[in-house]
Symmetry: none
Subunit: 225 residues, 2 copies
């Protein structure tokens, strides 16, 4: 899971980052609202932790801007010392998905992060069916028309991501992050993987399912289009 933490207090920020990284999550850290917005819009995160009390910008504005401009529907968990009803109301109206008041138990933060991300990726251990394509996550296996696809590891990851986002297209950057995490390959390896994925997913069949959206990314489509 890839998380963005927006928090001006570096001591608290570091503490949270350390704790979350202990859970095998990759955490980016922004100490100003402006930086937070930039990162949120240009990268793809699974979750954003937002402290409302920022020096340069109002946290509520930051939340609204991100919700409006981010490419994906990323959940936002607000962290703040303010615990009056009006503050919470303002936060939720601005689009927050959860609201935690300081001081809090770091372990509870983790629980709520998990709950939010779980909701995002609902169908993780079930069987996914997209048209004539069936993906079994647990079995690490995919079939099209009952014929098993001979996928490589990366190929499977890409296909799974595309299937989970179906019918929405997945931006290139999102695929890169999901497959390679923070350490992106130097050159464009994704292209080659898409190519070989097409060889097993599309080549042997009538109609292609993997569609390119120029300048954006890729998308799974079913025959009726």
């Amino acid at each position: 899971m890839k998380i963005l933490l927006i928090e001006d207090n570096r001591t608290i920020g570091q503490q949270i980052v350390t704790f979350l990284e202990g859970h095998q999550w990759s955490v980016d850290y922004a100490d100003t609202g402006e930086l937070g917005i930039q990162l949120a819009i240009h990268d793809c995160y699974d979750l954003i932790l937002l402290d409302l009390n920022l020096p340069d910008k109002d946290g509520i504005d930051v939340c609204q801007t991100i919700k409006k401009q981010a490419q994906t529907n990323v959940p936002i968990l607000m962290i703040t010392a303010r615990d009056h009803f009006d503050d919470k109301a303002q936060g939720f109206y601005a689009g927050a998905d959860d609201y935690l008041t300081k001081p809090f138990d770091l372990r509870e933060l983790v629980l709520r992060c998990q709950a939010l991300s779980r909701r995002q990726q609902l169908h993780l251990d079930k069987q996914l069916t997209i048209g004539e394509l069936v993906i079994d996550v647990a079995m690490h296996q995919a079939c099209r028309n009952q014929i098993e696809l001979q996928l490589t590891n990366v190929g499977f990851k890409i296909l799974l991501l595309l299937a989970q986002s179906f019918p929405k297209p997945v931006p290139r950057s999102k695929i890169l992050h999901t497959v390679w995490g923070d350490e992106l390959p130097d050159s464009d390896a994704l292209k080659s993987h898409i190519y070989s994925l097409r060889n097993v997913l599309d080549k042997p069949f009538e109609k292609p399912m993997l569609k390119t959206i120029t300048n954006v990314g890729y998308q799974l489509v079913t025959s009726n289009e």
Copy 2:
């Protein structure tokens, strides 16, 4: 919104039901875990409020059973007096989407209900509708009269901007800036893109939607004008 409340204490239950119904939500009420499970499985709710302290069954079990057997992936908000971390952890591991400890402000319950249902709704795509034109940002797709428009990347950007500003006209300079940023094309490329945008958006249809405002820019219009 259709909500199921599972709560054994009838006084508290009635209080919550009344308050939620005041928000124009329809609330079903179950005072035992068994009844709650039955209702949750056979009806479709947008949200389930579950008190953990039930007489006949453990609330955690109820939560797990519902998550497992319900047809839809309905969000569950747990309500309980238990405030310890272990309790919360148990609740979240059982699949809870949010966790509220008694006593709580009923208005906060409403906020959290809204946040949960909103997140659920977001999975359905947000669409912009202007007259007979429908734009789906996530799908990167636009339809007029149910007919998909074959837009280029730039064409889509322009149309989206026009739609977002509807019914106001958008000045040329704004379009240029949105599509090309700071590095504007040397000659007047926008003219050509408007031309080709008209070819797909207006040509195949009865009435044009893309109107020129001389010396200013362009504007989307609906037929009744």
